[in-house]
């Protein structure tokens, strides 16, 4: 073998190794792409029943950002606190009630009939969209948004529901963009809302 052929063969090996490394790096970067796809899969279209008893397709939310909270009307502490907070934050945004929809989805469809929801939501003196449905429909929407809830029997009768406390924020196209946690301060929450209502 001549020296030039050996050189060629060696360059070939270098080329193959380089190609291998490129493939390896490309494969490693794939999980990150999968993660960003997963973010995009939170939410998605659904149809539930509004508090007026009419079907409510999620497309009705399009056109303005939305803050969606999953709770139940027999929840005396966390749910009214969260809804009151959302109403106050929307007020602080200073862009009126049309700037963002506040949506309350029941995780207790057994008790929360449309009429029950309508009655409950008059408490907050500001428009809140109330949604309920069949148990199967609610389970489906919970799954779409990654919401956890579980019925817990109370000593002395009745039950309470443990549920995800975070609020899901959708942009005006119905795309999931962020969550609001009860633990973060109002200023952080307000900044997030400003971004989606900008």
């Amino acid at each position: 073998m001549s020296l030039s052929r050996l050189r060629l063969a060696l360059w070939l090996v270098v080329g193959l190794v380089a190609l291998g490394m490129v493939v390896l790096i490309w494969q490693r970067s794939e999980p990150q792409q999968a993660a960003s796809t997963a973010l995009g899969t939170i939410g998605g279209p659904f149809t539930l029943t509004a508090s007026d008893g009419q079907p409510f397709p999620s497309s009705k939310l399009n056109g303005r950002p939305a803050a969606i909270f999953f709770g139940f009307t027999h929840c005396p502490d966390v749910c009214p606190t969260t809804l009151a907070r959302l109403a106050r934050l929307r007020h602080q945004l200073g862009q009126g009630e049309d700037a963002m929809s506040i949506v309350f989805v029941s995780v207790d469809p057994e008790r929360d009939t449309p009429a029950e929801l309508a009655n409950y939501l008059t408490l907050f003196n500001t428009p809140v969209i109330g949604l309920t449905g069949t148990t199967a429909q609610i389970e489906q929407v919970k799954k779409q948004f990654g919401i956890y809830s579980r019925k817990v029997e109370q000593p002395g009768g009745g039950y309470s529901v443990d549920h995800t406390a975070s609020v899901m924020l959708l942009d005006k196209n119905g795309q999931f963009v962020a969550t609001l946690s009860p633990e973060e301060g109002d200023q952080v929450a307000l900044d997030k809302l400003k971004r989606i209502t900008a």
Binding site: T73, H74, P76, D77, L123, G156, D162, A165, P182, E183
Partner: protein
């Protein structure tokens, strides 16, 4: 001799602390309005200005079938609500119930709570016995 006097004095002081009474004062009691047959949460500030600890053991009111001391908690992003055990109110301390934490849950209200209403709630203490407080029903937007 001096040591004995000091020791006696210290013992006397220690026994003073033991024999002192708790002095429970209740205030700032409020609840949000309710609708339908949904339960209410009452928030109360408890002040123990006395020299001995006391313990909140329960609650009752003529306005509801049941009053229970409850505790909301946030764990791994999930909100839960459970019966709270008895709550210790140490001498000289102030405990203010706030939304998202300890509250008195009223189940089976005689009538839904309306903004502007007020009613009486009794908190039961181990040493101080039954103490009454007037609960004001605020607007739902109250935080």
């Amino acid at each position: 001799m001096l040591r004995h006097i000091l020791l006696c004095g210290l013992l006397l002081l220690a026994s003073c602390g033991q024999n002192g009474e708790p002095d429970i004062q209740l205030g700032n009691a409020w609840a949000r309005p309710t609708r339908g047959d949904a339960p209410a949460a009452v928030y109360v500030a408890i002040n123990n200005k006395g020299e001995a600890d006391d313990r909140l053991t329960g609650a009752f009111t003529d306005h509801a079938a049941m009053a229970m001391v409850h505790q909301s908690e946030l764990a791994d992003g999930v909100a839960t609500m459970r019966m709270a055990g008895e709550i210790n109110i140490p001498a000289g301390s102030r405990i203010e119930m706030v939304p998202g934490g300890t509250h008195v849950m009223l189940e089976g209200l005689r009538a839904p709570l309306k903004t502007g209403d007020s009613f009486e709630l009794v908190l039961k203490f181990q040493k101080s016995g039954d103490r009454k407080v007037t609960v004001d029903v605020t607007k739902a937007e109250q935080l």
